[in-house]
Symmetry: C2
């Protein structure tokens, strides 16, 4: 039975006006003839009131809360019988599923006299998804799929049309969804579904965007409200992380992560590009590896949520350009050399099955656009999450990974670049370095007088000098230093005078502690001797310091380059992104000179902003259009061809004297004025070109 | 380098007008500044002049033939130097490939003074494809794919965009092809292609229709004119036949056919529907079988043409509704019972790989629309080929196969139905019946006085009573009677008085020949004793007569039903289609009462009209839109629910007295007034309901 909308307003010749209906929170209002269903009035006024069953009393999505009494603000008094009495459909729903007291079904309750009706958040289609972080932008739910119940005309031998064509008509007439296309799997299931559902089917429609027609991607017999899910993936060079979201509530129901199996072809991206160049079929092997990793993630996250992977019907992926190409089956060769040409930069609407994801047979896949050959869809996702183009103040956004993506901008202009920091910030290429895992040193403090360190490991809340630490550490051992640990350690070593400005570790005599010891032509610092725990001696070598210096210089230089282009010397605030950004200590990062000077309380962590961007794109199709527009407007800076980048890099490799370059920092810490250069054994004057990766 | 079009016409203030250019055969004319290339002038005037390379002197598609002298009709005199002299590009082309004398390359020759230029047929994009049959409609070449050469901008680090996005721009700017989408296989080949082709690539664009954007489905480096092919398939219940066409010339380069492997699940369609109902997974088995048959056809036809199957980039398929569904992987269950609901009736744009066809990786597939649950895409293809909706006179079109599709109409109205003739017309269910193959009797004459037959077999031009027949027949034997043979035989038996009006074979005494003999409760007629050739006795039994009566009654009743609906008693002409229709003798068909009365010279054979329709749809996309519109306008009659059909069927089972029902026939033959009903042994009064199939 198609929807019957209320008739047009009765003529003015009538003595009494039609009842006034006011919806809150929208404030939309109008007069409707007595007997008009609340849902009908809401639709006519464009009020955001959900309905899947189209007013057939089945889905309960259109629940509303009428208010009674006097509303002087609106100039109406609502009588107790302003709506029709609770009817049999509502009573049945209440008996079986339970209806919150005071709630009515909008398709059943009809308007009798003037009334004020509240639409609770859960009855809104475009509800807000709650985000934990206060400063984060809200996500308005507007997923690419929509579910509707339709009643389809039965076949008629005198007017033979296909079942699908009659379904198309029903969607156009009952829901104004026109020109729907579909897929062979749906066509092969359609006839049974229609007949078992007695000509009533729940249709799931995917709307990819403006130039493509809506697509019927799932059908279920009768009224079906089994949840559909979407998967937002941050496909990193090292790790793949996914959030599974309920597409009707926006809620994250499960998260999972795994190592990118591609890592066996090379730790950093450039090694993988090389692998593809040096090995016949290497690119294909890497594609197969990352697709298998993605497939595993799909299975894992579905298992965590206790659902079948086939209930996942939409997915978004953000990643850097090399992962983007390799995942799609495109050789990344061109990304390894100037001019770093992408095969394709625009957003892509694909089918999940094209790339081997074991999801719903018609699951859609949206790949966010890439900004440039070195600034990928992950940076686009960060921009979507942090919205620099909407910021009044000038914000520097740094996504720290194997490559750092750096965005600088405000509502006038947004610049972006990528800087080849290398994997030192992730604990790689550090002698005692390791990934962030239980047993890894993640916090370090060094007493500036005694030069004695204390630290915390992942998996324990105790400082290493607190009672019970060693007992607690037995479970994991003290296995190495992770990325945030090495940054804190080097910064603390600088503050304690163990390391000087150019980056040299002093000798035992110079520093005044036996923890410093000669180690080849330079000195090392013993952080912890874990041999009694079955581990190794954990030392920081001068080479480790050098690695960190190079990485931080690359990061700082990228930021400075963007500031030059923006013609500013300071930024208003800094946002650190990435799993690593979430654990980094802003103070230590600034002491090291990783980031430009800024008031410390203006340095915040956005967590996995790329992953958040993927989730926003998953839950809101308008956001997809938005980031596509933003990406086109972002001005891309290619560090490789900017002479100023090299200049900044050379200048930034020292660990700064805070008072000089970091006025905000100078108020907090004082860096000792030491110089460990004994005129030999130092490589302080040598510059190494870093590989991209 | 993008095309540079000639500048706008110079101002009127100039003393001498620009040269006049007249194109033939179109007659389009216009003034262009001296120096304008002929191709540019043609494009500005909308003259149909081909070009793949876009005026770069590479493709030679734009060849034109200038005419010289006085053209009083046009009022111009063309000077010898009306076009620029033969240039280096033309000379080079002539040296290497040869240019017909008098021809010029339209992109190289520029207009100097008034000129008349002929565009020869092979230089027209929308050239006519020559068809053998005089009355057949012409096919204008307008395939769904188009090939163009583009020059793509090289990547620029300062303006990073993807290679594909720059290719999109090039297509829009150089060819006005906007919003092109593509596929992952193309993206993965794109970068190498562009670089090896030095930023020049030949693009093949597929345009499915109005609601879908154009799609880049092939790229080749540089200028590439390797031919692409299209495959038009008539997917029958019994045989699958395909024509391979060159998509640039429209020429059929190979044809192939094979038995539908699905036949092992049942000879007729209804047995296959039953197989699907009775066997778990049966529908899937049949889908796999027909897809494998189709795949084999693709390989066979490509092999015949000496090309790789990957050069086949477009395909069209026509078939009956059951084959349509089973090929697409849709259970045909609903087509086996009222109301015979199709899962989908509209035309479908698919990818060939979705249904397992081993063609080009991005090959497109167009399935013609179905008219109704019993009137399939094969009937739609017949309508496309024979165009009843454009006919001034009333035409009856009969496609004889296991089911007969019957169309009746003229430019005012078109009706269609399907009639369950069963497989008797194909030689099945006939005691000595067989398929049309060497050794099968295909022509029969019976002497009305002696009752002695003579016949021809497939594979020999001799009548059986001619000298040398038996020697010739040794090669094949005389193995049985094929469809056209049994029709002629029964009609001749009727004319010779061996069979009477109700369909009984007389006894030896009644007929006066020993060839008639008692065979159970009825009589049979010995057509030929092939035992001395190692074969069997070939007889026609009374049961065979009955089978033919049932089949012809079904066919005739369907035609009569449509005539009733049209409110006519006669038709102006009759077109017999199908491989069988091509071999049938109109006179014998009319004697049998298969078709309504009509002047014999107005009964023609259209050959495989369904296959022709598939070929038209392959070569002309406008024809696809046309048949989609026509199918919607065709009024479908469902014989199963028309009481008049049963009535006609009962009345039509006799073999008529020509003088009564067939005035046109009565002028040619006289049917003897015999009655062999001895009061026993006849089943003349019994009616059997025929299964559909």
């Amino acid at each position: 039975m198609p929807l019957s909308f209320a008739t047009e307003r009765t003529p003015v010749s009538q003595s009494k006006p039609d009842p006034l209906v006011i919806f809150t929170p929208s404030g939309k209002r109008g007069h409707f003839p007595a007997g008009t269903p609340v849902l009908t009035a809401a639709r006519k006024l464009g009020v955001d009131l959900d309905s899947v069953c189209g007013g057939r009393g089945k889905c309960s999505k259109c629940q509303v809360a009428p208010s009674y009494g006097e509303f002087s603000k609106h100039g109406v008094t609502v009588a107790k019988d302003a709506l029709s009495p609770f009817n049999e459909v509502e009573a049945r729903y209440d008996r079986i599923r339970g209806l919150i007291s005071g709630r009515r079904l909008g398709c059943q309750a009809t308007i009798q006299t003037d009334v004020v009706i509240d639409v609770p958040p859960e009855s809104q289609v475009h509800k807000q998804v709650v985000r934990k972080r206060a400063e984060a932008r809200d996500i308005t739910l507007a997923p690419s799929i929509r579910r509707v119940l339709v009643e389809v005309e039965q076949p008629d031998m005198h007017e033979p049309t296909g079942d699908f064509e009659r379904l198309q008509n029903a969607l156009a007439q009952q829901w104004d969804i026109k020109g729907v296309t579909t897929t062979l799997p749906i066509l092969s299931r359609l006839q049974k579904c229609l007949r078992k559902g007695e000509w009533s089917v729940t249709c799931t429609i995917h709307n990819a965007g403006i130039s493509l027609p809506p697509r019927l991607i799932d059908i279920a017999q009768g009224f079906d409200e089994t949840a559909f899910y979407g998967l937002a993936v941050d496909l990193g060079s090292t790790t793949i992380a996914g959030h599974l979201c309920n597409l009707e509530t926006g809620e994250v129901v499960a998260s999972a992560g795994l190592m990118n199996p591609q890592i066996r072809f090379g730790e950093d991206l450039m090694s993988r590009v090389s692998y593809g160049m040096m090995n016949e079929g290497g690119s294909g092997e890497m594609t197969a590896a990352v697709r298998e990793g993605m497939a595993q993630l799909c299975r894992d996250v579905a298992k965590d949520a206790g659902i079948a992977p086939e209930r996942i019907i939409d997915a978004t992926i953000v990643c850097n350009p090399v992962m983007h190409h390799l995942f799609l089956g495109i050789d990344a060769y061109e990304l390894g050399q100037a001019p770093f040409a992408l095969a394709t930069s625009d957003a892509l609407n694909l089918s999940a099955h094209e790339v081997g994801l074991p999801l719903h047979e018609n699951a859609a896949l949206y790949m966010l656009p890439c900004i440039a050959g070195h600034v990928g869809a992950d940076a686009a996702a960060v921009a979507l999450s942090e919205a620099p183009e909407k910021s009044d103040d000038l914000v520097l956004i740094v996504d720290v990974g194997t490559n750092a993506e750096i965005i600088l901008g405000n509502k006038n202009r947004v610049l972006a670049c990528s800087s080849p920091t290398g994997p030192a910030f992730e604990g790689a290429q550090i002698s005692a370095g390791q990934r962030a895992a239980p047993g890894a040193i993640e916090r370090v403090e060094i007493d500036p007088i005694t030069k004695e360190p204390r630290f915390k490991i992942i998996g324990s809340d105790l400082w290493s000098n607190e009672a019970g630490f060693e007992e607690a550490a037995l479970a994991t051992g003290v296995t190495g230093i992770c990325g945030s640990g090495i940054i804190e350690c080097v910064a603390e070593m600088r503050m304690a005078g163990i390391v000087d400005g150019p980056g040299l570790i002093g000798s035992a005599e110079q520093v005044g502690t036996d923890r410093c010891f000669a180690d080849g032509r330079t000195n090392s610092y013993l952080l912890y001797d874990a041999t009694h725990l079955g581990g190794d001696k954990i030392t920081v070598t001068n080479r480790d310091i050098r690695e960190i210096q190079m990485a931080k210089a690359a990061l700082y230089s990228g930021a400075r380059l963007l500031m030059d282009k923006f013609e500013v010397d300071t930024v208003d605030r800094i946002v650190l992104c990435g799993a690593f950004g979430a654990h980094i200590s802003p103070k230590h990062a600034m002491i090291l000179g990783m980031i430009p000077d800024c008031a410390l309380d203006k340095v915040t962590s956005a967590g996995n902003a790329a992953g958040t961007g993927a989730r926003i794109a998953l839950l809101n199709t308008d956001a997809r259009r938005e980031i596509e527009t933003t990406v086109r407007a972002i001005h891309k800076i290619e560090t490789a061809i900017e002479p100023r980048f090299q200049e900044h890099f050379v200048n930034a490799s020292n660990i700064p004297n805070a008072a000089d370059s970091f006025p905000h920092l100078g108020a907090i810490v004082t860096l000792p004025n030491v110089n460990h250069n004994a005129g030999d054994g130092s490589d302080g004057g040598k510059r190494r070109r870093r590989r991209r990766g």
